[in-house]
Symmetry: C2
Subunit: 437 residues, 2 copies
Amino acid sequence: MRMSVFFLPTLKETPAEAQIASHRLMLRAGMVRQTSAGIYAWLPLGHRVLRKIEQIVREEQDAAGAQELLMPTIQPAELWRESGRYDDYGKEMLRIKDRHERDMLFGPTNEEMITDIFRTAVKSYRNLPLNLYHIQWKFRDEIRPRFGVMRGREFLMKDAYSFDTDAAAARRSYQVMFLAYLRTFARLGLRAIPMRADTGPIGGDLSHEFIILAETGESGVYCDPDWLTLDVLTDAPGYQDDLNPFFERYTGIYAATDEKHDPTACPVPADQLVSARGIEVGHIFNFGTKYSEPMNARVALADGEQVAVHMGSYGIGVSRLVGGIIEASHDAAGIIWPAAVAPFKVGLINLKPDDDTCRSLCEDLEGTLAMGGDDQVLYDDRAERAGVKFADMDLIGLPWQIIVGPRGAKTGTVEVKNRATGERQEVETTRALDLVA
Amino acid sequence: MRMSVFFLPTLKETPAEAQIASHRLMLRAGMVRQTSAGIYAWLPLGHRVLRKIEQIVREEQDAAGAQELLMPTIQPAELWRESGRYDDYGKEMLRIKDRHERDMLFGPTNEEMITDIFRTAVKSYRNLPLNLYHIQWKFRDEIRPRFGVMRGREFLMKDAYSFDTDAAAARRSYQVMFLAYLRTFARLGLRAIPMRADTGPIGGDLSHEFIILAETGESGVYCDPDWLTLDVLTDAPGYQDDLNPFFERYTGIYAATDEKHDPTACPVPADQLVSARGIEVGHIFNFGTKYSEPMNARVALADGEQVAVHMGSYGIGVSRLVGGIIEASHDAAGIIWPAAVAPFKVGLINLKPDDDTCRSLCEDLEGTLAMGGDDQVLYDDRAERAGVKFADMDLIGLPWQIIVGPRGAKTGTVEVKNRATGERQEVETTRALDLVA
């Protein structure tokens, strides 16, 4: 992609309404644009990041045996009356009347609808366990939307729903998602810490929030310092293995939000306890038969007995993660994308686009890099001052920069900059390609 | 994927409400489930097809130079008041009040919103031409939703919007999309015919519908027999070429819906004229400054003059295409998927799952096929009668079937069936893999 044609409306000035870093940087980097309070259009740069996160989430759900489907955004009120939540849910639920005056709503979550789909399709224990997920836009009519995509009204969420014949099987399904979540966040370049949580309007008795640490986080958290060095991807068992030892170990290392933290009962000595701020990026629930009982979602066991299925639900805030990653990874100059979610891997800066040698060298590099895919290189071929180009490239935070100037170009030399460390090296072009590979 | 775990709730009986083949077959094949009138959940089999179509549409938009972004579903009413369409659009528009009593709506299309995004971001002719698209769920509150996903209320659409400095440049942008659409439908295995169309509520003076032929189509169409043999992918010029000759040729071959068809003026002799029924799967519009003038979307030309941009919009009904493809490609036994959009390439039927030789041979074949990706094989390992397995596999319409029975398995022989032709061959396993490759 070339910046001369790429729709990347960066802003020089910080919009006054943006109070936190991710909101500021997403607006300045031309990633999103607010279209109503708490509702955003995802411009091409932001959309690329969103889709990369979505794809990693999808791959890990698939690997864990969950099956993707897609439920609609507009739901009938009747389903929510069956579960009793139509009245319980307050004004956050966007209630709608269609042209025939039927009560509808823009789904804030999908427990009722998936239970309805399940109960008409599955009748036997032989079809369990089952885990169904989708990645879909949801709506919660926040009274005071703020912090950009971190607390917006329309947001992209992955939500999975598990179905089991009994509590023990449901616990295993919960462990599978617990592991899948740790793997997902690790792949996204994040250190996410599971913390025991209240279940709120979803219900149930077992629940964990996954929280990433960031100075600007919304809530205070306390944890064992072990959390800062654990390597989930190395520790993780396979999904076919007994997951109990892993689950016991990872739920046994102390971590608590300030609501749950009790200094007198905390097993970590005060001088070792990590006190930080965190952002919730996922939340999992085991709620037994809370929905299956009232909605009559039952299966026949081998002996013919009809039992209400035990369920869990598992959410990841996909659009929220874009903001969360930025909160955890930025500096004064802009965003610093982890490689796995970067909109492009390399920013190629041509300091003198009207110089034939520079242009020819850049086009060679662009061609070589682009062979790896359309997310490999963003080529700044604009007729702009060098200062503007450096500032824009730092702002949008691609992991690598390759800078081509007229002096170096004559001898086939370029500068390679690592955005995260700031390290710069003057190297030959082939070496530059090796460095960023 | 194994059918013993795959969430595939096929139906033996045809739901009474389904009047057309695609609706019947999508329900029977467990592809979708209606959740409210005209609103569907896409179950895993249907979702796979939907995503394959979406990806082909995306690739062709990208190849044509359009850039993907993502606008929200919920739009503010103010934008539609600016264009004047808030009052013009009738009850098909789902109007919503949020908790602060602000007028919102679930977008039926996005001309206003993209014009708003454009006008705040682009100020100069140097950033044109520009084409922005998204693939997003839309809502039109049909008074009487019917025909399944063919005329639903919540539907997935690709809509692109082009911006140019003048009418000539806008005409070229229109030609680029005209070509991209022909390429897209050809890749989907469809023969789509562009026909001059009225512009309706979108406005403008130049418009084509893309219509595929199907016996069950919603409208009558007439066309030159040449349309039945044209090979778009061979004829297509590159996007950098002069597109006028191609555009003139392809708009010069007669094709008209019955609304536009005039037998007295038709250049094709009556005895050669193809009379058929068709389904609209795409619609493109060039509408000049209809939105840019009232919404004040202007750019500066080289001489400083401010001009309203010339726009076009370009829609493909992605979810509707799933139904359209089935209408164009099915038989009495079920769906016949074109290879490019098939949810899986091969259905592997184990006639005797409790036989060690059968199971071992099937698992070898499954393993080899699955190396090509998770869309390569659906393995029917269920303990069901052969008749059920044959019927289900014909119903869901995968391009190839490999049938493994105990007699053949002993000598490494299987049966390969081509779903479209019905042709069956007894072959060795290595030959079977070659046939389906």
